[in-house]
């Protein structure tokens, strides 16, 4: 149904970011938390609109912007993620002395870019969304201007990011040459029906995958991840680790789900993605073993998780992919929130050694952090286990047994480095005094929400599964 309402989630977010930019001029520096409150109100509105539009299938701009259930679902959880990130940031920004007014506006711009990506079925529009997201991300990564690491992160992210964007555009151009269209539907149709695939189309598709592979950080396009994750302000790292990843996978899902399901000659792309998935799982997990910085460990862990998510793409199982992304959002934001909780003014405790004895000194933070790590490692009864269970069982159903065996062995390796943090927290005596600022109710709210999410999704995921089923059943809406 062509309806201008289809624009409303996007408009709300864009309006919010413009308003925040404007307000910043009038608000005193010490009152900048009001910007956060304004942003959060708009995020809630956006989420409410998404919930309201469920099952209505609005579209606009000749169908270039569609609000099917999948995009609504992702818009909702991304708005939720941004909401959590803002809660995390409020105190953090003051403590780290990076309380710039643009911060919230940039976050909201990034979110609007993601909503564009997720609600479009035209590669050019998706590219526009990606650029909105990317440019805001580069600025966010370099927010700590006085910090060398942060600037390094921004430059690195920018250079490699533009490189990836170039690949994406080139890929789109090649696809356009072969298919005479940039819409996902005609492209997929072309791959399904063409008797012989032109090399141009295949290369084009490959380039598009490379472009997105960069955003979702799969090996061998992962090089930027650890440095950017380490250098960026921690709430932004949390944002990077869930937002762009979720969107990237959702777009890949839109392209590859119908493609793998019906296309005959998908073997080449399939084996390439298979290799990427295996490499991602192995490299991510193995390198994480050697890290001593918690943010870097989480960076490599997020690479490894991209590998598991690729398994879901290969199994072309939509529900398990979306479920995994949902769980991943909660457990990863939760883990980063715990890292932020252990920071104090001008200093963050990020080395493994800093975590010695934390578990007993700050039992609540220690316990919740452990739950997130256990969930990331895939132990029941947390959401992380159920997510892996769905992905891997779907893959076995599709006959990808060797891939699953590699996957479970890789996650065995991952158990080691997740447990290493827990060992530090509970089984080693502290070497020096770690003094943290625990007066931060917003952060504890985030920890609580994420904990709730991880456990709810692990033990009683029933309702969410129903929603996810609805989200993917209306799809592909071509």
């Amino acid at each position: 149904m062509n309806n201008i309402y289809a624009l409303s989630p996007l408009l709300i977010i864009v309006a919010a970011s413009l308003l925040v930019l404007l307000l910043e001029v009038f608000i005193k520096r010490e009152n900048r938390n009001y910007l956060a409150y304004v942003s959060m109100i708009f995020l809630i509105a956006c989420a409410a609109v998404c919930a309201q539009f469920w099952n209505r299938f609005y579209s606009y701009f000749d169908g270039n912007l569609i609000l099917d259930n999948l995009s609504l679902f992702f818009s909702f959880i991304l708005a939720l993620a941004t909401f959590l990130i803002i809660l995390l940031s409020m105190k953090y920004l003051t403590l780290q002395d990076t309380n710039y007014g643009e911060y919230y506006a940039l976050l909201l711009f990034a979110l609007s870019g993601m909503i564009i990506m997720i609600s479009s079925r035209d590669l050019i529009v998706i590219f526009l969304g990606l650029e909105v997201l990317s440019i805001s991300s580069y600025a966010l990564a370099g927010l700590r201007r006085s910090d060398e690491k942060s600037s390094e992160a921004a430059i690195k992210y920018f250079l490699l990011g533009s490189f990836a964007s170039a690949f994406l555009v080139f890929g789109i151009a090649l696809l356009f040459g072969a298919v005479q269209s940039t819409g996902i539907a005609p492209i997929v149709e072309y791959f399904q029906s063409a008797s012989t695939l032109s090399l141009m189309a295949l290369v084009g598709l490959g380039f598009v995958v490379i472009g997105f592979g960069f955003k979702i950080a799969v090996v061998p396009f992962h090089m930027w991840t650890p440095d950017v994750y380490q250098g960026a302000p921690t709430p932004i790292t949390a944002f990077f680790s869930v937002g762009p990843k979720a969107v990237g996978f959702a777009v890949l899902l839109r392209i590859f789900y119908p493609y793998f399901r019906d296309a005959l000659d998908s073997q080449l792309i399939f084996s390439l993605l298979w290799i990427v998935s295996v490499l991602t799982m192995i490299v991510g997990n193995l390198i994480a073993l050697r890290q001593t910085n918690v943010k870097r460990i989480l960076a490599y862990s997020s690479i490894a998780h991209a590998g598991y998510l690729m398994v879901a793409i290969l199994a072309s199982d939509r529900e398990s992919l979306v479920f995994y992304l949902t769980v991943y959002l909660f457990m990863n934001i939760g883990a980063f929130a715990s890292v932020i909780a252990l920071g104090r003014k001008d200093h963050e405790y990020l080395e493994l050694e800093d975590y010695r004895g934390i578990g007993f000194k700050y039992p609540w933070i220690g316990a919740t952090f452990s739950v997130f790590l256990i969930s990331l490692a895939g132990f029941p009864p947390t959401g992380g286990f159920l997510a892996k269970f769905y992905v891997f069982s779907a893959a076995v159903r599709e006959g990808l047994i060797s891939l699953v065996i590699i996957g479970v062995l890789a996650s065995l390796v991952s158990v080691f480095y997740y447990l290493r943090i827990i060992i530090m927290m509970y089984m080693r005596e502290p070497a020096y005094e770690v003094d943290i600022n625990i007066d931060n109710p917003a952060l504890f709210l985030v920890l609580f929400l994420c904990l709730y999410g991880v456990l709810q999704l692990g033990i009683f995921p029933g309702n969410i599964l129903v929603l996810i089923k609805q989200a993917v059943s209306s799809f592909p809406l071509l």
Partner: protein, 530 residues
Amino acid sequence: MNVPILSIVTFLPLAGAVLFIFIGRERENLLRYLALFITILTFIISLYLYFNFNAQTPEPQFVEKAAWIGYGINYHIGIDGISLYLVLLTTFLMPIVILSSWTYIQKRVKEYLIFMLLLQTGIIGVFVALNLFLFYVFWEAMLIPMYFLIGIWGGHRKIYATVKFVLFTMLGSLLMLVAIFYMYSLFYKATGTYSLNIFDYYRMMLNPSVQIWLFLAFGLAFAIKVPMFPFHTWLPDAHVEAPTAGSVVLAAVLLKMGTYGFLRFALPLFPDALQKFLPVLAVLSIIGIIYGGLMALIQKDVKSLVAYSSVSHMGLIMLAVFALNFEAVEGAIYQMLNHGLSTGALFLCVGILYERAHTRLIKDFGGVSKQMPIFSAFFMIFMLSSVGLPGLNGFVGEVLCLFGVFKTSTLFAVLGVTTVILAAAYLLWMFQRVMQGPITNQKILTFKDLRIREIVYLVPIVIMMFWMGIYPQTFLRKMDTSVTHLLNQVNKREAIFTKSQDGKENYPPYILIESEDDKQEPPKEEEESR
């Protein structure tokens, strides 16, 4: 019956653990008494299971079924004659274990007790789960409390030991998970419905070549847990480094999860593969028996001696399981309980010694019985129970096991007897060096004999040992039908496959047998689940 008695037994400790979160850590004695109360209450409730257990049917009893996540993942629990005793063993030992760590654990009492209670829920859950997903959840979830118990309250090399324990176990169980996925998808392809119900899988006849891989995956997980040679290397480390209570639970109950897994899953699901691997498995068991025994002989540390004796005893149990006849399997189950009691008790004794001496090296002891006569008597009984003295529980189990094995293979039985001989050698020699002779170490003169609390938790074990040794009927008769049923399952399925095998070379990876219950009353089950 509307009271979900089995769920209460399973989750009462968990509820206790949640309650503990809200109690201040400085009220240590309150926490201890409360933990004791919860575990004793759990034990008393679990006795209800024993008294109301119907020994005439092999079907699972006290079944509770409820829809949970969907896709075949249901909450489905129940017990039969095999799991009944393992649940009882767990609930019986838990109060004892809590009492034994009354003074031993001085720091972080709250967390310690929370993990103990979580562990109990995990273990009982493994024994009662009838849905493979639920089983796997408990199987894995139980690792976490054990990981913390060893890692926080363990000895010098605790981190090495606990990480090794977790990684070893997970290696096996993750491969088992892949096998579960495979069966899950086979069942889906065969019937078009999702199921993880163990009884549905019993009806699924798998192609022997498929069975081999599945059996290897399941078998590896269970063999690591038992542990069978050569997967036993985690065990001495974990045992030696764990706190006393951890060792007791580990030896008495956790290892039984492996043997239980063989009985519940690996045997009835993959009988053809089992037949192929029987010789290998039997030989591995024998190697375990002899290797464990010899290693126990040369240990300098009392605790690792008991740990290696576990390897040896579990070898005998596995050998009996693989003999696949009534006496042997029943003996194996009985011996599982005996081993739980006697090895658990020996670890308790080592703990009592360690609390006084702060050493576990055999050479530091000598003549302890002069100083601690009551303890000496207890220790003697436990040791003799482990050796298999007639009149005590170990004897009954070992005799049944060996009779059964003898029926199948004389050679294996002869080799299996070495368990008893070696056990007598290393335990008696250890007892002699530790308890008897002159007092060489002046420190021993300061040892105090058992306190009332220690006597209180050792006496029930002694009573059980005599009871199980003198009148085993109490326990054995409730197992009979379940064991017969299990063996029927293993044998009947072989017959089906030999029939379908002749002439044809290509047969599907699975055949689904229609069960009689299915035809009779499928709608009723639906109603119950809601």
